[in-house]
Symmetry: C2
Subunit: 298 residues, 2 copies
């Protein structure tokens, strides 16, 4: 019998809480700066109360499920990584119980690990991937550390992480290119993106083509406003090529993103000849946490 659900995506720097009706509708949303790094070791019950206490009072019988870094070594309790291949039921079964301040149980979802020569981990993204409800397909979750996953027969069989967003930030803010970069106009952005996507397949590789932005600006061939879009497209192009090499080919990529990030990944995927199906992170989270909650024995 479905119950309402209070679900938290509780990361390192932020926490997002939703109250979800039996029918899967989001009734309330909360967002707080209380990421796990700001919570003292025994402070999780109190932090939960501060973030989502009013949701509990609004729906006292809701089940409670927490995803993300809250299940890491520095979180509330460590929920160990489930090794891939991992089905939704296996992920749900590895959830860990904790007690809220009033003794109510809550479930902390585990992360996933993947060991394909190189070791890789995720925590939080598995819930969004489950939320896509794919039988077979490839999922892309762009971000600071983008995740790509292969789903086969409803099971997450493999995944890989890419440092795309973080390296973009380092180049844009701390590198020699940061001094050349200006705020892009629409025209500069389109030009930079086109040039960056083309550069992503040049034989010199990322270290050569990233530096290319500097030479091109100095030569007057690239406006300063195109530097950021160039770097972004270059990095995303490399991410896509790497993910395809690791996870295999697919005509469609299921993209979990919204706003400008979704737009730039859609454009880069289209340039690589791939169709995109976009799901917002909230929609994927809500759907995923409902699916996993249905597999948790309370």
């Amino acid at each position: 019998m479905p119950r309402p659900l209070i679900a938290l995506d509780w990361g390192t720097t932020r926490a997002r809480a939703v109250l979800i009706s039996e029918q899967g509708e989001v009734l309330e949303r909360r967002s707080a700066d209380q990421g796990i790094q700001s919570v003292p070791a025994n402070g999780f019950p109190a932090a939960f109360e501060a973030i989502a206490g009013d949701l509990r009072r609004a729906s006292p019988h809701a089940a409670i499920v927490l995803a993300g870094m809250v299940g890491s070594r520095n979180g509330w309790i460590e929920a160990h990584y489930v090794p891939c291949p991992a089905s939704p039921d296996e992920i749900a079964a590895a959830g860990m119980k904790v007690m809220l301040a009033d003794g109510t149980p809550a479930t902390i979802l585990p992360g996933l690990s993947c060991d394909e020569g190189a070791f890789d981990v995720m925590r939080g993204e598995e819930t969004l991937i489950v939320g896509l409800g794919l039988d077979n397909g490839i999922a892309c979750l762009p971000g600071t550390h983008s995740k790509w996953a292969l789903i086969e027969n409803g099971t997450i069989t493999r995944f890989a992480s890419f440092m795309t967003g973080e390296i973009y930030g380092l180049l844009r803010q701390h590198s020699i290119l940061s001094r050349l970069a200006e705020e892009p106009t629409g025209k500069d952005a389109a030009r930079g993106m086109a040039k960056g996507l083309a550069a992503a397949s040049r034989p010199g590789g990322l270290l050569n083509t990233a530096f290319g932005a500097r030479s091109e600006v100095l030569a007057g061939r690239l406006p300063g406003g195109a530097v950021g879009p160039y770097l972004s497209a270059l990095l995303v192009g490399h991410e896509i090529a790497g993910a395809r090499a690791l996870l295999g080919q697919s005509d469609t990529v299921h993209l979990v993103a919204d706003g400008a990030l979704a737009d730039s990944y859609e454009a880069a995927l289209a340039a690589a000849g791939l169709a995109t199906q976009v799901t917002t992170p909230e929609a994927a989270f809500v759907s995923g946490v409902r699916r996993l909650a249905s597999g948790i024995s309370v």
Copy 2:
């Protein structure tokens, strides 16, 4: 008739001066913090005097040649880039004359540009490449922005830059990996380097394998002391692969480096199946500036 030579490698943050005898022996060396960024627009004659005035008094009849960023737009005078292919005589002929405080002429060497779809430039490195005295071969000058050049029939036909050293610094000091990295012991360094070189040819590419350092440390598979050597070897491995793709294959790479940098590039080149001939930056500079000075009409 050969003359003694006062030669400066005058870069953005530092200046190095040498007094070279008619026979090519380095008689004196000076090093100063007075890079061009610390010299006011009309302050170059005075800065030269501060850096190398005593060398002039030691050898009043020496010819004077300046290489590096001193010939850039923000330097003493702009010596335009010579487009590749560029022979030593063409480089020498593009030198620009300036006057020291007492009216003595000095020559500022130009940089090189290369336009092979992507535009690229160098300034200062051309002198070291000329100094290798190669008829045919591939030169590698590692650094913050590594340069690779192809020499054919004594002419620099193509070159490419790689942001290797700068991206290493960003990852090592500002990324999520910086918190995991510890000072390497000898054993950690060897292990990290071997793992990084192996990772450089993994299909996921640089964005995936750089992140891999984090997962491997968290999984206890890589000691913190191996993170820096892993990243260094991973980046150098990508640089080598990119340079070979751009410049073609060669059994031997002429490496201009010394110390730990020379060691790590030699190891990475050996792992890629390449033999190395090492020349120190000073030896290459001295030889190159002598060769170019011989082509300058005074």
